[in-house]
């Protein structure tokens, strides 16, 4: 296998990995602040792409359409928290997880009725021929995918480390009761984490739609990938989410290169199982023990 081919596999892995990382961040943020796996995360991805497609079709400029889709999906995330999950707050994680599954079905059906059953195309953020990056050819849109993922990761780190909201979110991930005792409005923090998860999912969906097209039913599969990436990296750890996403992307691309495209998903899942057996806290995760 030539070096150029090898680099191409790495480029493909990083492209998918960046998307998985954004999805995993969404799972991880919600899990850290609530202990709940949000199975509607995949639908946030779908909403991001479909809303951009619909806005562009209605004549909204692309940049504004992306911003609008991210903001609208963040609002959907917050609404789900406020009206579907908060009323059932007292009934334990399992109930809440099942509620998120219900929300995911609702969003998917609503999208089908609003946008129709066909796939939709979204124009590339910047037109032009593919470019060579370190010997691999990539579409220009892929630079947007990787760049925006990095930007989101940096912004999230800043938020987590150096803002009051971030501090409150970290406090909630340790203990809700303790956070309330020191005066943190935990309900608001949980709502904010759902809104952020919505924004991240929508960003992933919007930025990848020009490459892949989008449809009302793309959410479930991407949700599964993002969840796997989050678990792989260590649930509840933002750094782990990014590491998990990139590792999963590279694993899949390596599976195509050295095994076969047919077993791509299987290879990735076998590695996930191995990691869970050998390092149940994930590649990066540390403090999961007491949460389970």
């Amino acid at each position: 296998m030539s070096t150029a081919d090898l680099l191409q596999f790495v480029a493909s892995g990083l492209q998918n990995g960046a998307i998985y990382a954004l999805m995993a961040l969404g799972f991880t943020l919600v899990f850290a602040s609530t202990g709940v796996i949000n199975f509607a995360q995949g639908e946030f991805f779908m909403l991001g792409g479909m809303l951009v497609a619909a806005e562009v079709a209605a004549g909204v400029p692309l940049g504004l359409a992306v911003a609008g889709a991210v903001a609208a999906t963040a609002a959907v995330g917050a609404l789900i928290e406020r009206f579907a999950l908060r009323p059932a707050r007292a009934s334990g994680a399992l109930t809440l997880i099942i509620i998120t599954i219900g929300c995911s079905m609702l969003l998917k059906s609503a999208a089908r009725h609003l946008f129709g059953p066909d796939e939709r195309a979204v124009p590339a953020f910047s037109e032009g021929e593919p470019v060579a990056v370190a010997g691999a050819m990539v579409q220009r849109q892929v630079l947007w995918v990787v760049g925006l993922t990095l930007l989101a990761a940096v912004a999230l780190t800043v938020l987590y480390r150096w803002t009051k909201l971030g501090l409150a979110m970290r406090a909630c991930s340790v203990s809700h009761d303790a956070a309330r005792i020191v005066g943190i409005d935990t309900a608001r923090v949980v709502m904010a984490s759902f809104a952020l998860a919505g924004a991240l999912g929508a960003l992933a969906g919007a930025v990848v739609a020009p490459v892949t097209q989008t449809a009302y039913d793309v959410g479930a599969r991407m949700g599964l990938k993002g969840f796997a990436a989050a678990v792989l990296g260590g649930l509840g750890d933002p750094v782990g989410a990014i590491v998990g996403g990139v590792v999963l992307g590279l694993l899949e691309s390596g599976a195509v290169a050295f095994v076969s495209g047919t077993y791509k998903d299987a290879v990735a899942l076998v590695v996930l199982l191995l990691v869970l057996v050998l390092r149940p806290q994930g590649i990066v995760g540390r403090h999961l023990g007491e949460k389970l």
């Binding site: 296998m1 030539s2 081919d5 191409q8 596999f9 480029a11 493909s12 892995g13 492209q15 998918n16 998307i19 089908r112 059953p117 066909d118 796939e119 939709r120 195309a121 593919p130 050819m137 990539v138 579409q139 990848v208 490459v211 892949t212 097209q213 449809a215 039913d217 793309v218 599969r221 991407m222 691309s253 195509v256 290169a257 076969s260 495209g261 047919t262 791509k264 998903d265």
Partner: protein, 397 residues
């Protein structure tokens, strides 16, 4: 106080739902479109995917059949009997397709079933079809439907086992002897892939790379990199989903200059929209409905197809695609057979009549069924298309 109000509201809602359910069980009213016919309607069940992955295929199918039903009933029905179509949505789920079949047979007592949209759904219906002895006309393209022969089951689209040899012969004629195959792992892609690998030697073609991707994948550049390394003369892609656009864009990304050929599953406008300029020059086989001149002006096929295309375009605002055409053909076949049944129509008599379909001109081709051939189409119904300036044009044959 508040809780009490809620409870009252909840019981009201429950009561309303219950009332609705009971009303739904009441005996079916006569169909509204009488068209002057007084006799009992002929009941035909239809199983289509109106939701789920194949909704984009199932909805035009339903529209085409509704339009034809209305036309025939307004012309007085078949032998004085109006046609009643009972639609069931299988949600692209084989289990739901089977359940819908049971319901249509047991509750509605249909004479025949048209459906399903997809191959897996069609196959899932088979045990119910066999149990009740009701004829089935499928609109799905999997070879397996008529290859696993059943006297009760008929099919309207061109199956892969007709289309694959056609495209392989075309590729060989154009001088491409070393090809790479890229297919999806879904039912249609896998069915086509297996036939390509089996039939390629007969056409004098060797397969030098054989890659697959999964429906829903967001990148196929790894697979294409392996194909690039194998240096084929041309690439043949077999799938029907939106990933087709990924393949054409990926080939452009990797600087691959080889011509790309596809399947009749790529005959969708959404593919051109998704692939944009990368789709230019893409060649695929399909029926003649996309460019009606292919039927040959003045022929009976041309007349049938254009009158369907015009009526459909007028009613729904967009021209019909190949899937609407398959549904039109399925309905036409059943209606034509009903006309030829003597005396009271039973599912068994109707099955025999469908099997005797001969020279029936439809949109997908001219159908002639026999006790051993329940597909009834040949390669001659296919033409080659090329995408040029974002539209389908006939390629030199």
């Amino acid at each position: 106080m508040e809780r009490r109000a809620w409870r009252t509201l909840a019981s009201l809602v429950a009561a309303a739902l219950l009332a609705g359910a009971v009303a739904g069980c009441a005996p079916k009213q006569e169909p509204e479109e009488g068209g002057g016919a007084q006799k009992e309607p002929y009941r035909i069940g239809v199983v289509v995917s109106l939701t789920g992955t194949y909704a984009g295929l199932g909805i035009p199918e339903k529209q085409a059949m509704e339009m034809e039903r209305d036309r025939i009933n307004s012309e007085g029905g078949v032998n004085g009997h109006p046609i009643e179509l009972i639609f069931e949505d299988d949600a692209t789920d084989p289990a739901k397709a089977a359940a819908a079949t049971t319901k249509l047979i047991e509750q509605d007592g249909v004479l025949a079933i048209i459906g399903a949209t997809g191959t897996a759904q069609t196959m899932a219906m088979r045990s119910e079809i066999q149990r009740a002895g009701v004829p089935q006309v499928s609109m799905a393209g999997g070879s397996v439907i008529t290859a696993q022969f059943d006297p009760l089951v008929f099919q309207t689209p061109w199956p892969n086992r007709i289309v694959v040899p056609f495209i392989l012969k075309t590729m060989a004629k154009k001088g491409y002897k070393k090809i790479a195959v890229i297919s999806d792992t879904g039912g249609f892609g896998k069915d086509g892939h297996d036939i390509i690998v089996k039939e390629a030697p007969a056409a004098g073609i060797s397969v030098v790379a054989d890659e697959t991707f999964n429906p829903g994948d967001t990148d196929v550049s790894s697979q294409l990199t392996k194909i690039r390394a194998a240096d084929p003369d041309a690439v043949l892609m077999w799938n029907a989903g939106k990933e087709a656009a990924l393949v054409v864009k990926g080939m452009r990304q990797l600087g691959m200059k080889q011509p790309l050929f596809g399947s009749h599953g790529n005959a969708r406008k959404e593919f051109i929209e998704g692939a944009g300029s990368a789709a230019e020059g893409f060649v695929f086989p399909a029926g003649k409905i996309l460019v009606p001149e292919a039927y040959g002006a003045g022929t009976e096929s041309y007349r049938v197809a254009t009158s369907f295309i015009d009526a459909y375009t007028k009613k729904y605002g967009t021209p019909p695609d190949t899937f609407a055409g398959h549904a039109y053909d399925a309905f036409l076949i059943v209606v034509d057979a009903l006309k030829r049944v003597e005396g009271d129509v039973t599912p068994e008599k109707l099955r025999n009549a469908i099997e005797q379909t001969k020279g029936l001109v439809g949109v997908g081709g001219t159908f002639t069924y026999s006790p051993t051939d329940h597909n009834g189409l040949t390669e001659s119904e296919l033409v080659l298309y090329r995408i040029e300036n974002g539209a389908w044009v006939l390629d030199e044959q």
